[in-house]
Each structure stands twice: as structure tokens, then as C-alpha cells.
């Protein structure tokens, strides 16, 4: 803390002195102190920020200029983990160098615990003694002899475990050099380095015997370098760019201890909880090489034709890990399953090519007509070779699933696709008060294989009106309707390889299902006088999957937002706004094995109703004109979710899930005293009340056991206790701004 305060004082003083010394310079700095408290350590309060207590440098800027030369240094929240700093140096239009450094935290939880200790990067161990004790409670066949004692033992272990905060810190450094060395030419070179460090909750499983949630370390680095050239000559211009993006994950593998098993074993029948450790490959390193070329030319009738071609290649060839970490498991032919030699390849040699072609003609063929013709093709060609695991595989380090008629050898599949769009947009000005618009679009998608819909097409029609009935009133309204239809449906893709269906025949996945889509949006802005501004906007859309008997059936989204600004005098400003959103969705599923008959088994439906509200009110008052200003703001947000379930064949069972909500009240008051033109003092108080009630994010135990099961570990979870907490928080800030 002391070092932080000293650093900030030195930095602030440097800025102030610099402002006095440099003849052609200006700048400002805001610094002060802040204190805050929070009733419960909920991470939401600091979700994307790092709140310090004590001195802080809120922002600073220093600019220097001398003829063609200029430079600027600026930043916010200096020396915190959400600081942003920028710098540019330039000479006229010949060159300009920009540098940026930003830090962004994403704090997820400050209350999570785990007894698993990370002994090396990505390796989580339990004390051997714990495993030995638990192991002693296992009877032959994997059944716990004393499940109550086991659960108590694990609960005690969690209680004595340290808090392991969850969160990811992203630090981004950017460098950009722009050059205009000669007429008509522009060049740009950009480099970005993105570092992500931290830990996030990750689910691992021994096939639910048990599930273990771990604070998995995140340590990743992505480096991007791109170079672009532009040439302009008369009505034509050309742009070309090449780039590379390299991703490296410092945690390529995750390994964790099984709390029940100390040594790998293999039980011939009904084998459960046999692996002493679990293992999985984390995000593999990858590389993207990309290039884009574009040509644009101005044509008669104020028209412009532009063609863009983009090509990229993504490759990934990270070395594979073995099928399992369980040394006791063997494959057909006697191979050990944890031997890399059992794999069909040692790495994927994955390669995906993406090619985008985009053609657009925009122009004004008639004085009152403005139109765009566009054609776009987006092709993703996955050239990754397919691998067959003929020796079997180990889905959860517990046992080996050998290929059989019922369960054929898994074979990896490449997913390619092609999307085409042909569109026409037209705007016609009827008179100075009214414009109308038209949209016609044809979209097609091709999925070579193995998706169940090889090809679909969508026709979209739309229209709109933009009116200015009064000088200070603008009104817009647009509507479009799209009908997507699959050319055919291949139910054999639901075949699990043995001739049986792995999905219900009437399931239509919503991203490729037949869909009727209606979208309406409208907006109005009205300033009846200089003392009043009114704005309103609304959005409504409905996606209807009318041919989907199973799966998502409809989604309806509504949003309205209104805002008013009142300026009764030169010293008072008032504004307020209210927004309401609602998303309703309906989906159908079915329990049981009746794959080809939607009426049999236990069909069910789920109706989800998400509602959210945003409201604010703001007032500011110059208590002493140009000297003292007071301001206050109140903001309210609320998410409310209601989930209604029904199952006609078993209505007693289909009890609705409890409704949940997230609600925030935020009130602030602040005062500014403009002592001189270059010196301002201020203070601010902020009160936040955050209330949460959500079954999915609360009451999460460390040891999750189904109380109705005789053998708890057959469906047990050991979680991090990542619970959302209601809280109130208070913050006081005092600050001064010096401008020079």
C-alpha cells in the first residue's frame, strides 16, 4: 500500500512538473483517496475492476506538440490491475506510433475452496493419507462401506482447506505504427500480446464416481502481428493485409487425484472408481495465418463497388496425451491404455481453411434511390484428418470401452460448412419527410457432412420507414420476415453406428431447423424544445421452429427503452430512463426410450421467461454557477427468471424450478468545486445493494451428495462452493483534478 501511494504521488508530481516545464504542452491528472467496505465478499462488486483502498490516480493525460511533432501519454486507474495506459508519438501525417497497455481482471469468486493442491502446473493432488483412508472404506466392487463417514471426512477436509479465489487477469499490450511516406500510400503494422493468468472453475469427472470441480489454472499467451498496405489512386483504392496469430497454453494437461482411489486398478466387471488419477488435455496451442485483399472503385451514379477476399488457415498439432492415465487398463491386443503407442496418431495435424468472398455495390442510380447489392460467400473447410480409435477408449479413466456392434469405435469428424448470402437493400426518399426501405435476401448453408441437414435456405423480406414529420422528431420502423427451410433431413446421422438411434427422430436442432423469423424494431427521438429531449426504442422478434416436435420450439424477445432529458434552466439538468426486456422460450423433450414416437414415454415442455429491467435517474445542479456542481444518480437493474415445466403424463413430478433474480440498487452523490480554471476538488459517495436468489448459483455445497441414494459416491460432486452472495457496499472518494 505504501509503495502504491508513493508511486502515485511521484507520478502525479511528475505530471504536474512536466506541465509547468514543457512550453507547448497541456494535460490533467485526477488523484485522491478512496475507501470502501462490503458486507460479504461477493466478487461481483469488483467483477471487472481492482478497487484499492487509500490513494489512487484516477486518470492522467499529458500532451506535447511542436509543429509537426506531437506526443501524448494518458491512462486510467494507474498501478491497479484494471489500469489502462496509452501513448502516441507522431510526426504530421508521415508516421504515428501508438502503444497501449491495458489490464482487465475478471473476478469470479472470493469464497471458493479446494483441498486439491496444485503441486505442479495443472497437477492437483490430495494428501495420500486422505486417499488411503477413503480407500479403506471401499468394499470390493467399488461400494463404500461407510458412506456417511466418507462424506464427513471430505466435508472436514473442505472446511480446513484454504480459500482459492477464482478469476482471470487479462493483460493486453498493443503497438501500432502507421505510415504515410508518400502520396496515395498508407501502411500499418500492428502487434498485440494478450496474457491471461488466473484460475477458473472446471468440472472433471470419474463418470460421476465422483465429479470434482477444480480451480484450474489459466496461463495463456496470444501474439498477433498484422501488416496492412493501402493504395489510393483517383477513384480506386486497394488494401492488402497479412497476419499471424499464435496461441500458446502453458497448461496443456490437467491431472487430478481421485479422492477414493490411491492406486490404479481394473475390475473386470462393474468396475467403478478404479483410476487413481484423471487426466485431460486442455486447450491446444494453435496458429492462424491470414491474408485479406480488397479493391474498391467509385463508379458513376455516386456508386462504389468493393470486393474483399479473405483467406485464413488455422493449424493445431499439439502432441496427444494417452487414452487414459490409468496404468491398469489394457486394450485389445494387450496394449496398455496409458501407452501413447495405443493411439492411431501422436498428434492431430489439424487444419481448417476459411475463405470469405464479399462483393458489394452501393450507389444512387436515381437521385432519390440509394441501394446496395451484396453477395457473400463464407466457406469453412476443415481438412483435419479423421482418426479411428479401433483399440477402444477410456471416457473417464475408469474403464475401457472396447469397440463392439453396439458401440462402434469412435471416429473423429471434421465439420465443414459454407454460407452464402445474396442481398438487396434499397432506400427511397419519397419527400423530405419520409424515406422507405426494402430488404430482400437469400441465404443458403451447406454442411457437407456429418450434420443432419446437408443444405438449407432462407428467404428474407423486409421493409421500413424513416419519417421526419417535424424538424425535431425522427421516427423509424422496420420489419423483416425470414423463412428458413431445410432441403432434406438425414435421420441416419442420429444412428449411433450400430443401427440404433442416438437421438429422437423428431429432434430438430435449432441452429439448422426450419424456422420462421419475424423481427420488428422501431425508434423515435423528439426534442420539442431546447429544454426537453425524448427518445424511445423498441425491439421484438420471434423465432418459430414450427416443425420441431422435439427441441427448441420458439423464442420470443421483446425490448423497450425510453429516456428523457429535461433542462429546466442553465444550472439544472435532469434525465431518466427505463428499459424492459423479456425473452420467452419454449422447448420440448422426452424421457424414456421412445425415439420414433413423440407421444410415448414422458414428453415434457419447458417454458422459460427471462425478464430484465434497467432504470436510471440523474440530476445535476450548479449550486454556484461555474464554481460548485452537485450531482446524484440512481441506477436499478433486475434480472428475473421463471421456469415453468410440464409433463402431462406425470404432472406431479414436473414441479417448476424456483424463480430466481439478480437485483442491484446503486445510488451515488458527488460534488465538484472548480476552485480555479486549472484546479478542481471533488468528493463522491456510492452505495450499492446487490441481492441474488438463484438456485443455480447459490446453495452450492462443497460436498454434493444425493441424500436419497444409498451409495452417495455413485453420484457425488465435490465442488468449489462458487456461490453468489448478496451484499451491500459503501464507497467514499475524495479527489482533485489539476489541469495545466
Amino acid at each position: 500500500m505504501r509503495a502504491r501511494i508513493i508511486s502515485m504521488v511521484v507520478l502525479a508530481a511528475s505530471l504536474l512538473v512536466a506541465g509547468q516545464v514543457l512550453a507547448q504542452s497541456d494535460g490533467a491528472a485526477t488523484f485522491g483517496g478512496q475507501w470502501w467496505s462490503q458486507t460479504h465478499p461477493e466478487a461481483k462488486y469488483q467483477e471487472y475492476r481492482d478497487l484499492s483502498r487509500g490513494g489512487y490516480l484516477a486518470d492522467y493525460v499529458l500532451r506535447e506538440f511542436d509543429g509537426p511533432y506531437a506526443g501524448a501519454l494518458w491512462g486510467n486507474d494507474a498501478l491497479t490491475h484494471n489500469q489502462g495506459n496509452g501513448l502516441y508519438l507522431a510526426r504530421g501525417v508521415t508516421w504515428r506510433l501508438d502503444a497501449q497497455y491495458n489490464e482487465t481482471p475478471h473476478n469470479l469468486s472470493f469464497v471458493t475452496r479446494s483441498p486439491w493442491v496444485q503441486t505442479a502446473a495443472g497437477v492437483f493432488r490430495l494428501p495420500d493419507a486422505v486417499q488411503q483412508v477413503n480407500r479403506n472404506w471401499l468394499a470390493p466392487g467399488g461400494v463404500l462401506k461407510d458412506s456417511t463417514a466418507f462424506n464427513r471426512n471430505m466435508a472436514n477436509l473442505y472446511a480446513s482447506s484454504p480459500v482459492v479465489p477464482l478469476g482471470v487477469q487479462t493483460d493486453v499490450s498493443k503497438l501500432r505504427l502507421r505510415l504515410r511516406p508518400i502520396k496515395d500510400w498508407q501502411f500499418e503494422v500492428r502487434g498485440t500480446e494478450r496474457q491471461r493468468e488466473g484460475s477458473a472453475a472446471y468440472g472433471t469427472t470419474f463418470s460421476m464416481n465422483p465429479d470434482i470441480e477444480l480451480p484450474v489454472p489459466i496461463s495463456q499467451r496470444t501474439v498477433d502481428v498484422d501488416a496492412t498496405g493501402n493504395y489510393t489512386h483517383g477513384p480506386a483504392k486497394v488494401m492488402a493485409s497479412i497476419g499471424i496469430s499464435d496461441f500458446h497454453n502453458r497448461i496443456p494437461t490437467l491431472i487430478w487425484d481421485n479422492p477414493i482411489v490411491a492406486h490404479d486398478s481394473s475390475w473386470a466387471s462393474g468396475g467403478k472408481t478404479t483410476g487413481a488419477t484423471g487426466q485431460m488435455a486442455m486447450a491446444p496451442d494453435n496458429r492462424v495465418v491470414r491474408g485479406t485483399g480488397a479493391f474498391s472503385v467509385q463508379l458513376p451514379y455516386s456508386s462504389t463497388f468493393t470486393v474483399t477476399l479473405g483467406v485464413s488457415q488455422t493449424t493445431q498439432d499439439q502432441a496427444f496425451i494417452p487414452l487414459t492415465s490409468n496404468s491398469a487398463l489394457t486394450l485389445a491386443g494387450g496394449l496398455h491404455a496409458n501407452d501413447l503407442a495405443a493411439l492411431p496418431a501422436q498428434s492431430l495435424n489439424g487444419k481448417v481453411m476459411t475463405v470469405v468472398q464479399d462483393y458489394r455495390l452501393v450507389g444512387r442510380p436515381l437521385p432519390k434511390l440509394y441501394g446496395t447489392l451484396r453477395i457473400r460467400e463464407e466457406k469453412l473447410d476443415d481438412q483435419t484428418p479423421s482418426l479411428s480409435f479401433l483399440t477402444g477408449y477410456s471416457p473417464a479413466d475408469q474403464s475401457i470401452t472396447l469397440p463392439s456392434v453396439k458401440s462402434p469405435a469412435p471416429e473423429s469428424e471434421a465439420w465443414s460448412r459454407r454460407n452464402d448470402v445474396y442481398g438487396l437493400d434499397a432506400d427511397y426518399s419519397i419527400n423530405r419527410y419520409v424515406d422507405v426501405s426494402l430488404l430482400v435476401e437469400r441465404r443458403t448453408r451447406v454442411h457437407p457432412e456429418p450434420r443432419e441437414v446437408p443444405r438449407d435456405g432462407e428467404n428474407v423480406f423486409g421493409g421500413g420507414v424513416r419519417a421526419r414529420p417535424l424538424d425535431n422528431l425522427n421516427v423509424t420502423a422496420n420489419y423483416k420476415y425470414g423463412q428458413r427451410k431445410m432441403d432434406s433431413f438425414d435421420v441416419t446421422t442420429y444412428d449411433d453406428g450400430s443401427g440404433a438411434l442416438a437421438e429422437r427422430a423428431f429432434l430438430r436442432r435449432f441452429d439448422i431447423a426450419d424456422r420462421n423469423q419475424s423481427v420488428f424494431n422501431g425508434a423515435a427521438t423528439w426534442s420539442p424544445s431546447e429544454k426537453l429531449d425524448l427518445t424511445f426504442s423498441g425491439w421484438w422478434n420471434k423465432d418459430n421452429y414450427k416443425n420441431s416436435l422435439i427441441g427448441l420450439q420458439s423464442v420470443q424477445n421483446t425490448q423497450v427503452f425510453g429516456e428523457a432529458g429535461v433542462h429546466p434552466s442553465s444550472i439544472v439538468d435532469l434525465s431518466g430512463g427505463f428499459g424492459y426486456g423479456q425473452m420467452k422460450s419454449t422447448q420440448a423433450g422426452g424421457e424414456g426410450t421412445f425415439y420414433t414416437d413423440v407421444t410415448k414415454g414422458l414428453p415434457w415442455t419447458s417454458n422459460v421467461d427471462d425478464k430484465n429491467v434497467y432504470a436510471f435517474a440523474h440530476a445535476s445542479w450548479w449550486a454556484q454557477p461555474k464554481k460548485v456542481q452537485l450531482a446524484t444518480q440512481y441506477t436499478f437493474t433486475r434480472d428475473l427468471q421463471v421456469n415453468a415445466l410440464s409433463q402431462p403424463a406425470d404432472p406431479v413430478k414436473a414441479l417448476d424450478l424456483p424463480p430466481g433474480f439478480y437485483r442491484t440498487h446503486d445510488v451515488s452523490v458527488e460534488a465538484h468545486w472548480y476552485y480555479t480554471a486549472g484546479l478542481e476538488f471533488g468528493c463522491r459517495y456510492d452505495y450499492v445493494q446487490y441481492d441474488v436468489n438463484d438456485w443455480l448459483a447459490q446453495s452450492i455445497p462443497y460436498v454434493n451428495v444425493n441424500p436419497s441414494l444409498a451409495v452417495p459416491t455413485s453420484a457425488a460432486g465435490f465442488f468449489l462452493g462458487n456461490n453468489k452472495l448478496s451484499y451491500t457496499a459503501n464507497m467514499v472518494q475524495v479527489f482533485a483534478t489539476r489541469r495545466f
Binding site: F65, G84, E103, S207, T315, V356, D397, P658, L696
Partner: protein, 305 residues
């Protein structure tokens, strides 16, 4: 006859006056920036501190020499008016903020043709007749370092000035860090237009998302089809009421596409929540299927590994 002579005289007089006026008004010439600063000292001083001011002394690569008149037009008549607003010459000076957007934008696009503005003519903002000076202020920008000459302190504040309903989106419980130092609207969107959908700074939606979330890029040994199809199949772009900006809660999100017998097809209702079923508590389906964006584990076909 007399009436005819009078009418002719009036017409002749009017014509002569018009000719005289047109000669006065005809073709104002370049007066040079120095001529402007006597009356517009504040604007001129401020202008010199901006990129446009720098271009005045180092703008050899520009189509023409930079100065006040590059944007405001030839100013000799305006200067000659000497501040007399009744003088016809006074109004000959151009004010881009008072001109029709298309005409005002022509001035800016004369120099800003490539780079960020390459696709301007195809942008939604151009189609809606937005003027460059609607967002940028040459003489009174508010972004601290005047690096972009914005009319607001940040790009996000500028965008929200018109796209007000995004306040509603930002109020949802799960949202992007928009408005923080690390992220603004313009990190994903180019307001000047792009070759991608929704004016994004990439050719495809997935390319944009994966530029930051490069760990999801793959290609993976075991792919999850909707991930390859479009990130927006499962995630909202700006915010949502669900964890991780999902379009719906798990397990119901997953059950929109997976309904075979056994746990993927079961109805996860209040009784199952009461028995702490692993498919409904905490991370729901992701308690086990954590590698949902794709797996590179040889045994990861079902995304458990």
C-alpha cells in the same frame, strides 16, 4: 409603353446588380490559415494541437496542402467581409457541421480513404446519413488525449449516445467488460464499416470471438458442431441473464439439441434439484462435460476429457 420601359429598366437594373453581386461572390480564393487566426484564435490554437494541425506542417503525402480551408473552403470572401455577417461574402465559408452529411463527409473522405475508413461507403452509418462530425469534433474533442477527436470521453460513451437500448443490455447480470479500460464498443465493431457482419472487426463472427478466446480456436480432435457453426448459437454477444452470457440456462440450453434416453433427455425439475442431481446443480451438464468447446483428449469424444 411607359410601363414597359419601367419594367425593362427594373429588369436591367436587377440584372446588373446580379452580375455585380456575382462578381463579388465569384470564386473566393484561398486566403491561408494565417488569415483565420485573427478572429478565430481559440479554434486555431486548438486546431494546431490536433492531427489536422500537424498535417499543416507535415502533410506532403496528402492530396492537398492542409489548412483551415481544406475543410472550410476558400475563405477570401469570408475574410474580406471582416466579420460583417450581412456581407454576402461572410456566409461563403463552409461549416461541415451545418452541411448535409454526404457533402460534409466528402471533405473528410478526401483524406481518410483507406485504413479504418476503407468500407465507409458500405457502412450502416453511411446508409443512415450520419456525418463524420456527428461523432468527431475537430475543434472541441473530449477524449483526453485527443487521439481520436471524439465528441465524448470514450468510444463507448459515444456509441451509447445513440444506441441507448444497450444500457439495458449492460444492466444484465452477465455482460462483457464494456466500458472498462480493457474494452470498448470499437474493440469489436468498426463504426466506419467493415467487410464482416454487423461492422465487426473480422470477416466472420467466430473469427472475432476467437481473436480473444484463442483457446477455443482448435481445430480439435473432437469438435462440437455448433461451436464451429457460430459462437452465437449458445452465447449472446453483449450480455445475458445467464451465466457465461449463455442464451439459456443449462441444462435446458443443452437439451435444445440433446434428448436421448437417460440423463440428456430427463426433465430437470424441482424434485431433481432437491435430490442434488449432478445434472442440475452448480455447473449442470458442464459438471462433467467441461470440454464443451471441443476436446483434444483422445478419450474426449463425449467432452468428459
Amino acid at each position: 409603353m411607359r410601363r414597359g420601359l419601367m419594367l425593362s429598366a427594373v429588369l436591367l437594373g436587377t440584372s446588373l446588380l446580379m452580375v455585380a453581386a456575382s462578381q463579388v461572390m465569384a470564386d473566393p480564393t484561398m486566403a491561408g490559415s494565417e488569415a483565420c487566426k485573427d478572429c478565430h484564435q481559440k479554434e486555431y490554437s486548438q486546431y494546431l494541437t490536433t492531427s489536422h494541425g500537424r498535417a499543416q506542417s507535415d502533410g506532403a503525402a496528402l492530396p492537398e496542402k492542409m489548412g483551415c480551408e481544406t475543410c472550410h473552403g476558400a475563405g477570401s470572401a469570408h475574410v474580406a467581409a471582416g466579420g460583417d455577417t450581412k456581407d454576402p461574402g461572410f456566409a461563403t465559408i463552409q461549416r461541415p457541421d451545418k452541411q448535409a452529411a454526404a457533402k460534409a463527409n466528402e471533405i473528410c473522405l478526401g483524406c481518410h480513404k483507406g485504413g479504418e475508413q476503407f468500407y465507409w461507403q458500405h457502412s450502416a452509418h453511411a446508409r443512415k446519413d450520419l456525418a463524420c462530425v456527428g461523432c468527431h469534433s475537430i475543434h472541441n474533442s473530449k477524449d483526453g488525449a485527443h487521439a481520436k477527436l471524439l465528441k465524448a470521453e470514450t468510444t463507448t460513451a459515444l456509441c451509447l449516445g445513440c444506441h441507448k437500448s444497450n444500457h439495458l443490455a449492460m444492466g444484465k447480470s452477465s455482460h462483457m467488460p464494456i466500458g472498462t479500460n480493457g474494452m470498448g464498443c470499437n474493440d469489436c465493431h468498426n463504426p466506419h464499416g467493415s467487410a464482416g457482419p454487423k461492422q465487426i472487426r473480422a470477416l466472420t463472427t467466430n473469427d472475432l470471438c476467437l481473436s480473444c478466446h484463442a483457446d477455443k480456436r482448435g481445430p480439435f480432435l473432437w469438435e462440437h458442431a455448433p461451436v464451429r457453426e457460430n459462437c452465437l448459437t449458445c452465447h449472446e454477444a453483449h450480455s445475458s441473464s445467464n451465466d457465461k452470457m449463455l442464451v439459456a440456462r443449462r441444462p435446458f440450453l443443452c437439451q435444445r439439441c440433446h434428448t436421448p434416453s437417460g440423463h440428456p433427455g430427463n426433465l430437470y425439475d424441482a424434485p431433481r434439484l432437491g435430490t442434488s442431481a449432478l445434472q442440475v446443480v452448480n455447473r449442470s451438464c458442464s459438471n462433467c462435460h467441461s470440454q464443451i468447446h471441443g476436446s483434444n483428449s483422445p478419450s474426449g469424444k463425449t467432452f468428459l476429457r
